[in-house]
């Protein structure tokens, strides 16, 4: 009976739950879903991670290749995070070129990575103006059940922490490269930016870590990215207005969550490196 009611009157279904201060999946308004991180499961990639937040699943794999640095930035390598929302993750998407949503999120994630300075691109340069690493970090959503940015950020950061690059001997005079695969070095990840998504329902209720139905029905979404104690990005694309206290409250909650997520990522990476 509840299932039929949910599909016929979704808004009323959720409102009824919220009036009793509980969400349909049994969480309170400020509860987060459990997070699972699995590192280095794809052997063909230089680093990989699978992350589940509730049912939302994102996989990230990094492939490292060699290239020539750009003439205007001769000391820097490249890190290219591309998010893909394939048709297999939700009936909302079609196969073919990336949707507007995928493009917008790719840019958001790239901006977060750049602003947080978690990777120093100069670490990726092997020889100035001659040789550098390019890291193709491909994020693929496998199950789209809300809070996608949160999952993507955890996947990307855990993946980068698991990346190992071989040592390269390069002779610029003769243009000879030699790769020493026995000497693999981990990539330095300086900071751990963690994203937390909130949804605003009916202009007043703030829900942490919304599922896809809640995201679709709510009147506004807010994503806060913190790295340690510092704020690195607040993304609020329109929607219901929030008061200053509400916003500060959300930031406090994200900071608290970021700490536990950072511990989780570090533990997952450490276990794998043992």
């Amino acid at each position: 009976m509840a299932e039929e009611f949910k599909s016929l009157h979704p808004l009323k279904y959720y409102r009824d739950y919220y009036s009793h201060d509980i969400r349909p999946d049994g969480r309170e308004f400020t509860d987060f879903r459990p997070v699972i991180v699995n590192v280095d499961s794809i052997k063909t990639a230089n680093g990989s991670a699978v992350v589940k937040i509730g049912r939302t699943t994102v996989i990230c794999g990094v492939k490292a290749e060699l290239c020539k640095p750009k003439p205007d930035l001769p000391r820097q390598g490249f890190l290219l995070p591309n998010l893909e929302l394939p048709a297999l993750c939700s009936s909302k998407f079609k196969s073919g070129p990336p949707s507007h949503e995928a493009q917008a999120l790719t840019q958001l994630i790239a901006d977060i990575i750049e602003n947080s300075k978690c990777i120093n691109l100069e670490d990726l340069c092997i020889l100035t103006d001659k040789l550098a690493w390019v890291l193709y970090a491909d994020l693929i959503c496998l199950d789209y059940d809300g809070s996608l940015v949160d999952a993507c950020m955890i996947a990307l950061i855990s993946c980068l922490k698991s990346v190992k690059l071989p040592e390269i001997d390069y002779d610029p005079a003769l243009d000879i490269k030699q790769v020493n695969i026995e000497n693999m070095r981990p990539l330095k990840v300086h900071f751990t930016p963690v994203a937390t998504t909130f949804a605003v329902f009916d202009d007043k209720i703030i829900l942490a870590d919304p599922v896809i139905e809640e995201e679709n029905l709510c009147t506004g979404v807010l994503t806060i990215v913190v790295s340690g104690d510092e704020l690195c990005c607040v993304h609020k694309p329109g929607g219901s207005p929030l008061s200053e206290e509400e916003l500060m409250d959300c930031i406090e909650k994200s900071k608290k969550r970021a700490k536990s997520i950072k511990k989780l990522i570090d533990k997952a990476v450490r276990e794998e490196n043992k």
Binding site: T44, G61, K70, L88, P98, V134, D143, K177, Q178
Partner: protein
């Protein structure tokens, strides 16, 4: 290649570092067909398989399969009307999409579907068409999407097995269980440049014979519904190879049955 403006683009040219390796990789040993048939029970000659249903919550049916080290995820969505169609058709349609993740192979794959992926989509479609009761879903189209997360042989076969299970979970009417297997015949004179693939059966060919054979099988009436062969093998050998593949398909069918049974039991609970 034209620039892809919908994604972040890096440098124009980049090369995989594996090209400049200092040490050669160690050689692998591959048995010939006679050796395989002689020293082991042939029905056990298939890679390790893990199969799970219901991995994607947003889809109607989904399955995840591991064959050796190959990892594939397949989803099936609700049937919808065939797009851009004027007249009514008595038979339904299935559309298949086969895609490698960019990081799934030793060499990086591009985002757009390449010719190999398109060919595999087509083979997958043909194989699955024989297993689905298309007359039961007139004028409707079932979309099947598969994504290879890691490729270590048998990617197409894995996608076909998983698609069969995902279709069953989605409740699409089907004639039969479908299984598939890949056999690679390696060139015996180039055996040192070979890579051991854990996902498929590998045998060493006689003289300079080489190739790949993929078969799909329906089990109720022991029908082989799809064969795809590339390479160069004498005709009389083909029969032996197909017998090996067919037997390993039989043992996979048992795994598929077990997996479906588990799904049904969970559903009743």
């Amino acid at each position: 290649m034209p620039l892809d403006h919908k994604r972040l683009n890096g440098p124009e040219e980049s090369v995989p570092y594996e090209l400049f390796l200092r040490h050669k990789q160690e050689t692998v040993e591959i048995k010939t067909l006679d050796e395989v048939t002689k020293d082991s029970d042939i029905s056990r000659e298939h890679p390790k398989i893990y199969l799970k249903t219901g991995t994607v919550s947003q889809a109607k049916g989904s399955a995840y399969i591991e064959i050796g080290e190959t990892k594939i995820i397949v989803t099936v969505f609700d049937p919808k009307e065939i797009p851009n169609k004027q007249d009514y058709s008595l038979k339904g349609e299935i559309s298949c999409e086969f895609k490698y993740a960019p990081f799934s192979c030793t060499k990086r794959r591009l985002h757009q579907q390449d010719n190999e992926e398109k060919r595999n989509s087509l083979i997958m479609k043909k194989a699955l068409e024989s297993a689905v009761c298309l007359h039961e879903i007139p004028n409707f189209q079932v979309a099947i999407h598969s994504l290879v997360l890691q490729n270590d042989g048998s990617a197409l076969s894995g996608a076909i097995i998983a698609a069969g299970v995902a279709l069953a979970e989605a409740g699409v009417p089907m004639f039969d269980i479908i299984t598939s297997m890949t056999l690679e015949i390696c060139r015996s004179n180039e055996i040192d440049s070979l890579r051991k693939m854990t996902g498929q059966i590998q045998v060493a060919g006689e003289k300079s014979h080489y190739g790949t054979i993929i078969i799909s099988k329906l089990h109720a009436n022991e029908q082989i519904c799809q064969v795809h062969q590339t390479g160069f093998i004498p005709g009389d050998q083909l029969k032996n190879y197909i017998t090996v593949l067919s037997k390993s398909c039989d043992s996979i069918a048992a795994i598929v049955k077990k997996c479906l049974l588990k799904e049904v039991v969970n559903h009743i609970k």
